[in-house]
């Protein structure tokens, strides 16, 4: 069996950590889409709001420390009305999507090459792992210095931060293609392109999309980090400006918008999984989609 093994570093730490991540994150947003699951979700939300109010009234917390939900809501409506929220969100969304696209494309190309060549893997694995040990937050300032405070530096931060999980998942996915199916394709004279399209891609897709789920939320973090370091637009910028002005309600608005963005992206990936991975085992599928009644 050629090169089934990843070097220990590539395997033990990251993959298992990500597998755990994936499990933790698996059910949540999708279950919220189901009517049945909606009721407890709504209840939890209402409870949260209630506790929030309770904290303010009983604890006597000042609004400039913790504004009440209705104050945040009001601030949200104002930011929406003057167009600033939409503008900043759009900037951040662009950074996230471009960064995700760039990082994922690079990671998949690189990961595929790494998975196919043991020599290349042995040679590059130390660099790949070392690159992951560099905290992205720490090099974000460098990127801003080199590429300016505009879109480019944020896109690069996002790309860097999503690169590693998608790379690892690409390698693991491609390596997980059963050797017997490879032999089958070989015995049927499949071309390289056919093997990729008809075997490697579908076989690696579950693991690959798992990487995208993690990447999608990481990309949002990357954009915010980039904007913190140096920007004049974006939700991260809005957040730091609001903090500077003690506009805590606006800080909350920015944070909630970021959460919504990350969850939507995550949900999109989950939708893609639903659309393409119907063939997976029933048990796995129902766990993933929280929808045991619907076959296929």
């Amino acid at each position: 069996m050629h090169g089934v093994s990843c070097p220990g570093l590539l395997r033990g730490s990251f993959v298992s950590r990500m597998a755990m991540n994936k499990d933790l994150m698996t059910n949540f947003p999708l279950s919220a889409r189901r009517g049945r699951a909606l009721a407890p979700g709504a209840f939890a939300l209402a409870l949260g709001v209630f506790l929030w109010y309770a904290l303010i009234w009983l604890g006597g917390v000042q609004p400039f420390i913790l504004p009440a939900p209705h104050q945040v809501w009001g601030r949200f409506l104002r930011a929406l009305a003057d167009g600033s929220l939409a503008g900043h969100s759009w900037v951040t969304l662009q950074e996230v999507l471009a960064g995700l696209a760039l990082g994922a494309a690079a990671a998949m190309l690189f990961g595929y090459a790494l998975a196919k060549s043991t020599v290349l893997e042995k040679f590059l694995a130390p660099y790949v792992v070392a690159s992951q040990a560099v905290p992205t937050v720490a090099i974000a300032p460098l990127l801003v210095i080199w590429f300016g405070p505009g879109l480019a530096s944020k896109v690069l931060v996002c790309a860097l931060i999503v690169f590693f999980p998608i790379l690892i998942n690409t390698v693991v996915g491609v390596r997980s293609v059963p050797e017997d199916l490879r032999d089958l394709m070989r015995s049927l004279h499949a071309s390289r392109a056919q093997t990729f399209r008809l075997l490697e891609l579908p076989a690696a897709l579950p693991v690959l999309l798992g990487g995208f789920r993690i990447g999608a939320t990481l990309a949002v973090i990357g954009a915010v980090v980039g904007e913190f370091v140096g920007a004049d637009r974006g939700l991260g910028y809005l957040l730091s400006v609001a903090r500077g002005q003690y506009d805590v309600a606006l800080v909350f608005v920015a944070v909630f918008t970021l959460i919504a963005m990350a969850l939507s992206l995550y949900g999109l990936v989950a939708l893609a999984e639903r659309a393409t991975l119907g063939w997976q085992r029933q048990a796995e599928q129902s766990r993933m989609t929280f929808n045991p009644t619907e076959k296929n």
Partner: protein
């Protein structure tokens, strides 16, 4: 019974590299398979049966010797060979029909032709109504039938089968054997089938080869001159018992 040789194995040896001097698996095999013959291959576990099949299919280059298929030396998978793997080896994301037509799709066949072939194959292996099913919804026997249909889809001259019924219970196994026989008779294929089951070998094959322990040589060759069609009653005849004893002794 002896037609022209479709497949020749000439002084074939295979050694796998490992830490200590290499694992000698196939040791100078010499035999040939005539056209339309059904050959069963028996032997102890780990003796190299799968290794031989992979070599014949051009998936594994031999260390020494050669394989000649249709008069041409095999180096790389030759055309005209269907391979049934030790497990069904289906693509779980493709439906039954899509799995069966994979060889046609790879060969660039038109959709219409592939659909027609698929209908024919589905009928041949008795899977009508399951065309759109996914492998996860099939029983072991059904999956194996899909694998056989897939191996037959591009109409190969030689069918290499690696314990195609290994994972099945005895009853299903017998039924599948009879179906295979029916297909073999209808299609006139040459078959080389690995099996652990002596009765199965006798019910199906014209000829049985027995491998020795590793490194494998052909320790016995047996012509199974039982009349066809072979019906179930055959199992209880003295001829069958005698052949079966000879095979068992050879394997031991």
């Amino acid at each position: 019974m002896t037609g022209k040789a479709l497949l020749e194995v000439i002084r074939l040896s295979t050694t796998f590299r490992n830490g200590n001097g290499g694992l000698h698996v196939l040791d100078g095999l010499d035999f040939s398979v005539a056209e339309y013959q059904f050959v069963a291959l028996l032997g102890p576990s780990g003796s190299g049966k799968s290794t031989l099949l992979r070599t014949l299919a051009g998936l594994l280059p031999p260390s020494r010797g050669r394989v000649v298929f249709k008069g041409q030396r095999v180096d790389g998978p030759p055309r005209g060979v269907g391979y049934v793997f030790q497990n069904a080896n289906l693509m779980p994301w493709r439906t039954v029909e899509e799995n069966i037509t994979l060889p046609l799709e790879l060969a660039g066949a038109a959709n219409g032709a592939a659909a027609a072939k698929s209908r024919e194959m589905v009928e041949l292996v008795g899977l009508q109504g399951f065309e759109e099913a996914l492998p996860r919804d099939l029983s072991g026997g059904m999956a194996q039938r899909v694998a056989i249909a897939r191996a037959l889809a591009h109409d190969p001259d030689l069918l290499l089968m690696d314990e195609p019924f290994g994972a099945l219970d005895a009853i299903t196994r017998e039924r599948m054997g009879l179906e295979l026989l029916r297909i073999w008779e209808a299609r006139r294929k040459t078959v080389l089938m690995v099996t652990h089951d002596i009765a199965e070998a006798l019910m199906l094959a014209d000829r049985a080869l027995v491998f020795s322990e590793r490194p494998a040589r052909v320790s016995m060759e047996l012509t199974v001159d039982l009349p066809r069609p072979r019906l179930d009653e055959l199992r209880y005849t003295p001829e069958f018992a005698a052949l079966s004893r000879r095979l068992r002794d050879a394997i031991r």
